[in-house]
């Protein structure tokens, strides 16, 4: 089993940036790939700000943030991932987009490189099918915000070798994360339950069962959840909930996974959640997670 020293992270959105922070924080050389330079610049700024805040809060020693960022390299060229031992993709949730990326990576990365997908809904086996190395593709689903959450859902595809999965598992633990093994089924564990649960809550509002504030209060008080479901949905965003629902429902055809009509109306009204200043609740700021 070869040691993982250099890691590629593809996609510098919210998830990709969080994952790259986790990897760099573990002392590994981290190469972040994105097609857009401005997205790379923004990701680097956000990561540096997050780590500086960690220093300010005493979670990192003084200067450690700069040492971590020294491990971080951004690039717009797939070729620059040629020395990676493992690549985590966090690109748009579209099978064609992922196949296109992995087939390019397959041409530049050495044979031992493991491809990990952060997909939350697409089958690992299907993703692996377009990778050129199906035996070395694993599911590695981080939770939002990745830089703060320890859970990683790990799934082998039908063709994933035991050796590759074990190596990816050990890598995940070395990052300081807590992996959980799931079967390669739509949504794995977390989203399989969370997406329909959120849709149920949204439908409760739409049907006039109770007001959002009362629903959040009820769930937090009775179940001890740290956030009310509508507060969490406002963080996720209505646009994301629609994407997740459409993806899950397209795969499972389960009625509870279908995007509720209210979500579409809220998107139409610009009430996306925290990011737009209002969703089920009203907000005075739109800071990103962990900032």
């Amino acid at each position: 089993m070869s040691e993982i020293k250099t890691v590629g992270v593809v996609g510098s959105g919210t998830m990709g940036t969080g994952i790259a922070i986790v990897v760099a924080r573990a002392g590994l050389k981290t190469i972040v790939l994105d097609a857009r330079q401005d997205a790379l610049d923004r990701a680097r700024e956000q990561a540096a700000a997050f780590l500086a805040k960690s220093v300010a809060r005493g979670k990192l020693a003084a200067g450690q943030d700069e040492a971590i960022m020294a491990q971080w390299q951004g690039t717009t060229q797939v070729q620059d991932l040629k020395e990676c031992d493992l690549v985590i993709e966090a690109v748009f949730e579209d099978l064609g987009v992922k196949h296109d990326l992995l087939s390019k990576l397959d041409k530049v990365c050495p044979p031992h490189t493991i491809f990990a997908s952060n997909t939350s809904t697409i089958s690992i086996t299907e993703i692996a099918g377009g990778s050129g190395r199906a035996d070395r593709v694993v599911g590695m689903h981080f939770c939002l915000p990745a830089q703060l959450m320890k859970l990683v859902e790990m799934s082998p595809g039908l063709a994933t070798s035991e050796e590759a999965f074990a190596q990816a598992w050990a890598f995940c633990e070395a990052l300081g994360q807590k992996p959980v093994k799931t079967r390669d089924t739509p949504g794995f564990i977390l989203n399989y339950f969370l997406i329909p649960w959120h849709n149920d809550v949204i439908n409760l509002v739409d049907q006039g069962v109770a007001e959002p504030a009362d629903i959040d209060l009820a769930v937090k008080t009775a179940l001890g959840y740290p956030l009310g479901p509508l507060e969490l949905l406002d963080m996720v965003g209505m646009d994301t909930q629609k994407l997740l629902s459409d993806a899950m429902h397209g795969l499972t055809h389960e009625p509870r996974a279908a995007c509720p009509p209210l979500v579409k109306r809220m998107i139409g009204a610009g009430k996306l959640g925290r990011k737009s200043g209002s969703g089920f609740h009203a907000y005075g700021d739109n800071k990103i997670f962990g900032a």
Partner: protein, 217 residues
């Protein structure tokens, strides 16, 4: 707001001593009917004082409309239930049920009475399952079904939901601890009321109920 307690049968909301019961007085202005037969007592005319600021009837899985009617009824009557899961003690949450014709002042008076005893009140309209049972029963059934289908081990399933969402306890451990047969009873009642498949009790809950009925531990 003073109130008196009228008890008919065993109460799921207040099975033991509680500040809310202690604060009641025999001459209270409001009235709180508690116990499994509270709704029946109302229907039989035990408490019909129209002048009371509020009358609260304890509910189990039934709707308030069963007792006071759906389209027209007394404006000063609300329903309520403290949420509890099976053998667990009742939580601090009171779901306060109102109808379209319920007077806002009656809702406010009942809310004040519960909150004065340290309880938290969520107001909802009169739907089967109110807020909590309406939400958690499909989720629990899905968790039980996916456990049967081998999505993950029970421990990993619980661990994922706790780590990923900050839940204090995973659904499988929670249902086992509080009594899976209780979940069957509530979920079956909602399935009958709503006719929706997600409320149909999962196989494991059906087994637990059957074993409970036979006295099998």
């Amino acid at each position: 707001m003073s109130y008196q307690i009228i008890q008919r049968g065993e109460s799921l909301s207040f099975p033991d001593a509680h500040d809310f019961l202690k604060a009641a007085s025999g001459q209270g202005e409001g009235a709180v009917l508690i116990g499994g037969d509270a709704g029946q007592a109302w229907r039989e005319g035990v408490e019909r004082a129209a002048g009371r600021p509020f009358i609260a009837i304890e509910l189990d899985t039934e709707c308030l409309g069963l007792h006071i009617g759906d389209d027209d009824g007394p404006a000063n009557v609300v329903g309520f239930a403290r949420f509890r899961l099976g053998d667990d003690a009742p939580t601090a949450l009171v779901e306060l049920v109102k109808k379209p014709f319920t007077d806002a002042a009656a809702v406010q008076a009942a809310r004040a009475a519960f909150e004065a005893a340290g309880l938290k009140v969520a107001v909802c309209n009169d739907f089967p399952g109110r807020i909590l049972n309406r939400l958690v029963r499909p989720y629990y059934n899905a968790a039980l079904r996916r456990l049967d289908e081998g999505l993950a081990t029970a421990a990993d399933l619980d661990k994922t939901l706790c780590l990923g969402l900050g839940y204090p306890e995973g659904p499988i451990a929670l249902l086992k601890r509080t009594g899976l047969h209780h979940h069957y009873r509530v979920s079956q009642a909602l399935y009958q009321a709503l006719g929706q498949e997600p409320y149909a009790p999962a196989r494991r809950a059906q087994v637990a109920w059957a074993r409970h009925q036979k006295g099998t531990p």
